[in-house]
């Protein structure tokens, strides 16, 4: 299980290289056959250059099932104090005693989930922060292939001609629209799990043969 630790001696850029070499599936494959990694980051702010990742949570979805045995939640040792953002994610400096180096967390992520389609609710932010982090740590950009449950939801609602109220696309609102259980917001793993359930529901309510390319189109 801790196999990825042994690779620590390999040059850092090599980790990203290996990740990038494992290409995500082709666009014409049925979405049902893809493996997804649903991820959520808690951040100190919205600026990827200036702000930091506080915690990461992820859970894979394979063959239409959320695999809880691989659910992960990591607090990240932050170069600066958590400060003001504690208001949102409820984490304080004292909680970070068993936090991990971001490099370790990202290494696990890249080595385990190469070839996965990454999923997040409002993925641009997560994508930017992961990219900057990879640049800084590995001096190389990882080629993440992301889809966005928020944009898929937007596409669905527009297609049904539903007039959207304010906040209609926020995760809790999406969950209740899909009659899915609510959970503790602003906890990286809880949010990743909720997004995973949302993805399952969205996939089930699309036509059975929806391809990855279709999903990617809806995610834009």
């Amino acid at each position: 299980m801790l196999g990825w630790l042994q690779h620590k001696t390999t040059p850092l850029s090599h980790i990203v290289q290996t990740f990038n070499q494992c290409l995500p599936p082709a666009g014409n494959i049925r979405a049902a056959e893809c493996s997804f990694l649903v991820i959520d980051l808690e951040l100190t702010g919205l600026n990827a250059k200036r702000d930091h990742i506080v915690s990461l949570g992820w859970v894979p979805v394979r063959q239409h099932e959320v695999v809880l045995s691989e659910a992960r939640h990591y607090l990240v040792i932050s170069p600066v104090s958590v400060g003001q953002s504690a208001i949102f994610h409820g984490l304080h400096d004292k909680d970070f005693d068993d936090a991990r180096e971001l490099a370790d967390v990202l290494t696990e992520l890249l080595q385990r989930y190469a070839g996965y389609i990454f999923v997040a609710h409002h993925c641009q932010l997560d994508y930017r922060f992961l990219n900057v982090a990879c640049q800084r740590i590995f001096a190389k950009s990882a080629k993440f292939s992301f889809i966005d449950t928020l944009n898929i939801e937007l596409y669905r609602l527009q297609k049904q001609g539903i007039v959207m109220k304010k906040d209609a696309l926020r995760l809790p609102q999406c969950l209740s629209r899909h009659k899915l259980p609510q959970s503790n917001q602003h906890h990286a793993l809880a949010d990743a799990y909720s997004s995973a359930l949302l993805l399952l529901s969205q996939l089930k309510h699309s036509h059975a043969d929806i391809t990855l390319a279709d999903l990617q189109l809806q995610s834009r």
């Binding site: 239409h64 659910a71 939640h73 259980p181 793993l189 799990y193 995973a196 359930l197 399952l200 309510h205």
Partner: protein
């Protein structure tokens, strides 16, 4: 790592609720979550246990009959995991939902570690088997020969002597023997044969059995119904029948066996009651009611029939106590009617009912008449209390002098309730409108009932107030169709099947019945009459009647359960112990009550 939403759900789900937090977390790690869509057939797997997180799933047998519905917190697939045997059931999603799949490994680990969890799933499994049995056998279950006789074969061969037969009978304490030749049944010999065919005919003790036995006797199969045995015995005037199992002799059934098996039949108990000459004797008879109730449960007597039978027994006890009182205090100075109200009046009495009775007298209760009936009423009410029918906490009993009135007195009393109704007074008095005569003059009673119905029939003000009291208690369903549970004095949580279910229906139906001058008292009969007279919509009465039956059945089952466990009989039911289908029926029934209350309000409380 832990997903809080999943562990929180597991922590609130029987039987996982007994696990520690750390154990719940590692249990959650063995789970995969799947989203199931309406119409989808769930692919069952031998490798995993299914736990319903949200949504509704319908389970169909291979004949496409609906077996049950699964909802939040229900399980499926345990039968395959427990027995390794697959069945041909089909599980179809009816409402989109989430399914947890727990690995077989984790399931077995849990069962191994926790005896309680193992027992929980074993019970689920056996209840399921029971469900199948009920499905196959639509007819009512009646006793079979095999329920009464044990596998006790006492046999002798034809060549042995009658003396040896007599010795064997004495030794085994039986009144008859099977006679076998080469393992085949050839005849029977009874102690009566020894008397009339051996002793009376002066035959030697060394006479072989086959000379005096009854050859080729009538036989009955082990799986035959008991009444078939009774029929066979009376048709051929015999008291012994060899019982066969697959054409081999298995045992003997005698007339005594049959009588013994029927001893806790209500007919016998009521006969017993009328033979008693003391309150002690009646108390002893009444102590058998519990056993009778359990037997009725085993024979799957429906709740409304059981309620009827229990009422009949209470009636018999009352009648006998009145007779005993008349022996003690002499004949009554005037004609009277002993009245029963409430559940005894409606003939749907349950095991924990209290007394609700009164006296209607031909003469005004003054002087000797008053003294006589005071003594009689006290004797009967105290006697009933000794028989387990507790004294009425609200003092609605004939022993209360305010409830021993002449026809004029009662008529005045009802006139007061009907003509100037106040909510408080009606709330207390509504049970008086469900009255029946138990003993004494039927004519006197009819006069009173006609008087009441003439007052209530079409009396809008009275009906408005009576409807208001029927609206006071609501069915315990929340806006989102969840059960609202309440606590009893002992901190037990549950749903009061009587107060918030059965009684509400009774109250609603009473308003309609009184509005139309219907003399029927029993709730089901009132509904039949209301439908046939066109007072209520036929579909609505059917729905109410079904809901009433379901609630009564649940209460009856609950009482049975309480009796078996040795608990005090209570009306408070925890919906968690119900199967998915029962929970559905319960919710449906409560919805029916809600609808009926709105209709009642619309009909009787509109113009006020």
């Amino acid at each position: 790592m832990e997903v809080a939403e999943v562990t929180t759900f597991l922590a609130g789900t029987t039987p996982f609720d007994q696990l520690k937090t750390t154990e719940l977390a590692s249990l959650a790690e063995q789970i995969s979550v799947y989203y199931c869509q309406n119409g989808e057939t769930v692919q069952l797997s031998s490798e995993r246990l299914m736990i319903v997180r949200t949504g509704i799933f319908a389970l169909f047998s291979d004949q496409q009959t609906l077996l049950t519905k699964l909802e939040e917190g229900d399980f499926y697939g345990y039968q395959l995991l427990l027995t390794g045997l697959a069945d041909n059931d089909q599980l179809v999603c009816e409402e989109d939902g989430l399914v947890y799949w727990l690995t077989a490994e984790a399931f077995h680990q849990l069962r191994y570690q926790y005896k309680n969890i193992d027992i929980f799933f074993q019970r689920l499994f056996s209840r399921r088997l029971h469900q199948y049995k009920a499905q196959q056998q639509h007819s009512r279950f009646t006793l079979k020969v095999s329920d009464v006789v044990q596998a006790r074969k006492v046999a002798i061969s034809g060549e042995q002597t009658v003396q040896q037969a007599a010795i064997l009978m004495t030794e085994k304490r039986v009144s008859s023997l099977l006679v076998e030749q080469d393992d085949r049944l050839v005849g029977i010999i009874t102690d009566r044969d020894l008397r009339s065919r051996v002793l009376a005919d002066n035959l030697a003790a060394q006479t072989p059995v086959n000379q005096v036995m009854t050859a080729k006797p009538h036989t009955i199969d082990k799986h035959a119904y008991l009444f078939e045995a009774v029929q066979l015995m009376s048709r051929h005037n015999v008291h012994h029948l060899p019982v066969l199992d697959k054409q081999q002799s298995y045992s003997m059934i005698t007339a005594t066996d049959i009588i013994r098996s029927q001893q806790d039949h209500p007919v016998y108990l009521i006969g017993e009651i009328h033979r008693q000459t003391s309150v002690d004797g009646l108390e002893h008879c009444a102590s058998q009611i519990t056993n009778l109730a359990l037997t009725m449960g085993k024979q799957q007597v429906p709740a409304h029939e059981a309620g009827h039978i229990i009422t009949t027994i209470t009636d018999a006890l009352t009648q006998r106590l009145i007779k005993l009182a008349q022996i003690e205090f002499g004949p009554s100075p005037c004609v009277f009617s002993w009245l029963a109200f409430g559940s005894q009046g409606r003939m749907d009495q349950s095991l924990n009912a209290d007394q609700d009775n009164a006296l209607l007298l031909e003469k005004e209760p003054v002087g000797d008449v008053a003294d006589y009936f005071a003594a009689l009423a006290d004797f009967v009410c105290q006697g009933l209390a000794r028989c387990g029918i507790i004294l009425c906490p609200g003092n609605i009993m004939a022993s209360n002098s305010a409830l021993r009135l002449s026809l004029k007195g009662w008529s005045g009393q009802f006139a007061k309730w009907v003509n100037s109704p106040t909510p408080e007074a009606l709330l207390k008095s509504s049970i008086f409108f469900d009255l029946r005569v138990i003993e004494g003059s039927k004519g006197l009673f009819n006069a009173l009932q006609n008087d009441i119905l003439a007052r209530t029939n079409g009396n809008t003000l009275f009906l408005y107030h009576l409807a208001q009291t029927a609206l006071q208690r609501t069915a315990p369903l929340s806006f989102l169709r969840n059960f609202i549970l309440e606590h009893d004095g002992k901190q037990k949580k549950g749903l009061d099947l009587k107060k918030r279910g059965i009684s509400v229906i009774t109250d609603i139906v009473r308003v309609y019945a009184l509005s139309a001058g219907i003399a029927e008292i029993n709730t089901r009969q009132r509904l039949v009459k209301l439908a046939s007279n066109g007072i209520m919509d036929a579909k609505d009465t059917q729905n109410l009647s079904d809901a009433f039956d379901i609630l009564a059945q649940l209460r009856w089952d609950k009482h049975q359960h309480d009796l078996t466990e040795g608990h005090e009989v209570s009306n408070l039911l925890d919906p968690k112990v119900l199967s998915g289908l029962q929970r559905h029926q319960l919710k449906d029934s409560l919805t029916v009550i809600n609808d009926a209350q709105s209709a009642l309000k619309h009909r009787f409380c509109r113009e006020m």
